[in-house]
């Protein structure tokens, strides 16, 4: 564990990424209780107030709602859903990918074919169509659908990680002392794939943020009045000349969060993969 900290110390990029991520997590947990405006509060006297004026740090939108408050509240849903999706899709991916890769043969062939077919629809399109048809997305619905859309990809990664371990002799040794399949898969192999799995989870976290923001932008994400960064962008798009802050700040919020996670996950993948 210490070596990871040491390597983290040497990587300013990773530190920056981690710091921004932690700020956002803090904002999501503690932020709302510190805010002076609620995210739904409309102030018809103060519409499109420029940043910094009238006590509105990042200004207000066309309905006079405080942009800063909405961004802080928005971080809650996006972080929650992204975290859940990256975990859920990784767990599902591990179970499916491990089963397919471990048993091989016809099971694996069928798995690969199904995955190829599912991957033919871009995850965004898949999620969009399903959410669009179902209408009224909730946090639970969004989480489940995005997780399903991601599972083919995570399952492939998990299968690949398993295959590199499956051919090793310690697996053979476990077999010929009569270990069960479950034992071999999850006790012998899983700990040795932890590197790629962690890399996948962190990378998936960034993808989830992108995906959820995009779905919100397309209007099939969380429904109003819940503040959603993507939705804030599309709602105010027409104001880009008149009140650019209403569009730009939510965009920058997304950008800072995804870039932060990517920087950190890049570091994780370097550390985890160089380890062997």
């Amino acid at each position: 564990m210490n070596t990871y900290l040491l390597q983290l110390k040497r990587s300013p990029r990773a530190i920056a990424g981690l710091a921004i991520l932690l700020i956002w997590i803090f904002a999501a947990i503690a932020g709302p209780s510190l805010l002076s405006y609620s995210y739904t509060e409309m102030d018809m006297n103060n519409q499109m107030v420029a940043p910094g004026q009238e006590g509105h740090l990042l200004g207000t939108d066309a309905l006079g709602r405080d942009v800063f408050s909405r961004i802080i509240y928005g971080s809650r849903s996006i972080l929650t859903i992204a975290l859940l999706t990256s975990l859920l899709s990784s767990i599902a991916g591990i179970i499916i990918g491990f089963t397919a890769g471990y048993f091989g043969g016809i099971v694996d062939t069928i798995f690969l074919r199904i995955m190829d077919i599912l991957m033919a629809i871009p995850p965004l399109v898949l999620a969009m169509v399903v959410l669009g048809i179902l209408g009224n997305s909730t946090i639970v619905g969004l989480t489940i659908i995005v997780s399903i859309a991601f599972t083919p990809a995570t399952a492939r990664v998990a299968r690949g990680a398993l295959l590199t371990c499956k051919s090793t002799e310690y697996v053979d040794a476990a077999r010929i002392r009569g270990e069960s399949h479950i034992y071999i898969m999850f006790v012998e192999i899983l700990p040795n794939t932890i590197g790629p799995v962690i890399v996948e989870i962190t990378a998936r976290f960034a993808y989830s943020i992108m995906m959820i923001a995009s779905l919100g932008f397309l209007g099939v994400g969380l429904q109003p009045p819940t503040p959603d960064w993507g939705m804030m962008v599309i709602e105010n798009k027409s104001l880009i000349r008149a009140a650019p802050w209403t569009v730009l700040y939510p965009s920058l919020a997304i950008a800072s969060l995804v870039i932060a996670i990517s920087l950190f996950s890049d570091f994780v993948s370097k550390v985890m993969i160089n380890e062997d």
């Binding site: 074919r113 190829d116 033919a120 629809i121």
Partner: protein, 321 residues
């Protein structure tokens, strides 16, 4: 011989994928909650008119018959009739928009493929040095941004700030895309942002691993100059994985198109899909999604063949020496 076999096998599988996809899309869309006819006509419609529409749409027929009718129409080139725009044949609007999107996608490809290969190779050759660090960071940052975020940033700079490019990609009535090429630039750049990061990073890592290969060492120690080794020995091997990556990401690109076209109001397949979903125009959704799938499958097939053709290890079988 080996190549032909692979070709036939892959082609068969490609067709199978499209078939499976069509089934999946059809059932996914058809099982949507609520009565389709009711949805189309609105809550105020009378029961008789709903029943009449159900009858006209054949909604009371068994599911498989409806699927066969729909798929049969597709094969004959009949995409059916739009539900939302009553009486409009999808064919009449669909292909023009597809054409626009293809032009947009090709423009983006034209931007990002050479750019990302060039920078990826450069970063790979300079592994661990300053140019590598800069290119890698830029790639990482652009890759992480959703298309609409980079789009907003581009709009703010080029349309709102510098005012040199249009803020929205609208083709005035009576004109066509070719008279308005400037509307392609910002959407294409938004896609380039994402794709550049992804492809250049892949290109970099394949270049790095090729440069560490034994045969590169052998070439250098044969006395070949470094530039020659990079271009003649390393590049071809390092490009092979990139071809696959670009092909695999055609699906992603078309997913991204939906976002980009929505942002810019670009009249293409993406915004068509979006409005179809918003208006619950089932036949149109089916047509759009199936077409996106088709593009992806076709791109994968093409790159796979290209890869096999360029890779002698697949093209020529190991012969008895």
């Amino acid at each position: 011989m080996e190549f032909l076999k692979r070709f036939a096998k892959r082609l068969g599988f490609t067709l199978l994928t499209i078939l499976a996809m069509s089934v999946l899309i059809f059932f996914l869309v058809e099982i949507m909650p609520g009565d389709v006819a009711q949805t189309v006509l609105g809550q105020s419609a009378t029961e008789e008119s709903v029943a009449a529409l159900r009858d006209r749409m054949g909604l009371d027929d068994p599911l498989h018959e409806r699927y066969l009718r729909w798929a049969g129409g597709f094969i004959r080139g009949d995409l059916g009739e739009s539900l939302y725009m009553r009486g409009v044949q999808i064919n009449t609007i669909f292909w023009r928009k597809v054409g626009h999107s293809v032009v947009l996608a090709l423009t983006a490809l034209l931007f990002y493929v050479p750019l990302s290969i060039l920078f990826g190779v450069f970063a790979g050759v300079k592994e661990g040095k300053a140019p590598d660090a800069i290119i890698s960071f830029v790639g990482l940052a652009t890759m992480a941004l959703p298309e609409f975020v980079s789009g907003i940033i581009l709009i703010t700079v080029f349309a709102v700030g510098l005012e040199i490019l249009p803020i929205a990609s609208i083709i005035p009535i009576g004109e066509n895309l070719w008279q308005n090429l400037d509307i392609l630039v910002l959407p294409a750049l938004s896609i380039t942002f994402v794709m550049f990061g992804y492809v250049s990073r892949m290109q970099r890592s394949s270049m790095v691993s090729v440069m560490k290969a034994d045969y590169i060492r052998a070439a250098i120690l044969k006395g070949m100059p470094r530039k020659y080794v990079i271009f003649r020995h390393a590049l071809k091997n390092a490009l092979l994985p990139t071809i696959t990556i670009i092909g695999m990401n055609m699906g992603w690109l078309f997913g991204g198109l939906i976002v980009v076209e929505t942002l810019f109001g670009f009249p293409g397949l993406g915004s068509l899909t979006m409005s179809a979903i918003k208006t619950r125009d089932i036949p149109l959704i089916e047509a759009c999604v199936l077409f996106i799938t088709f593009i992806f499958v076709f791109a994968t097939f093409t790159t796979d063949m290209l890869y096999a053709f360029l890779n002698p290890r697949i093209r020529y079988k190991r012969g008895d020496a």
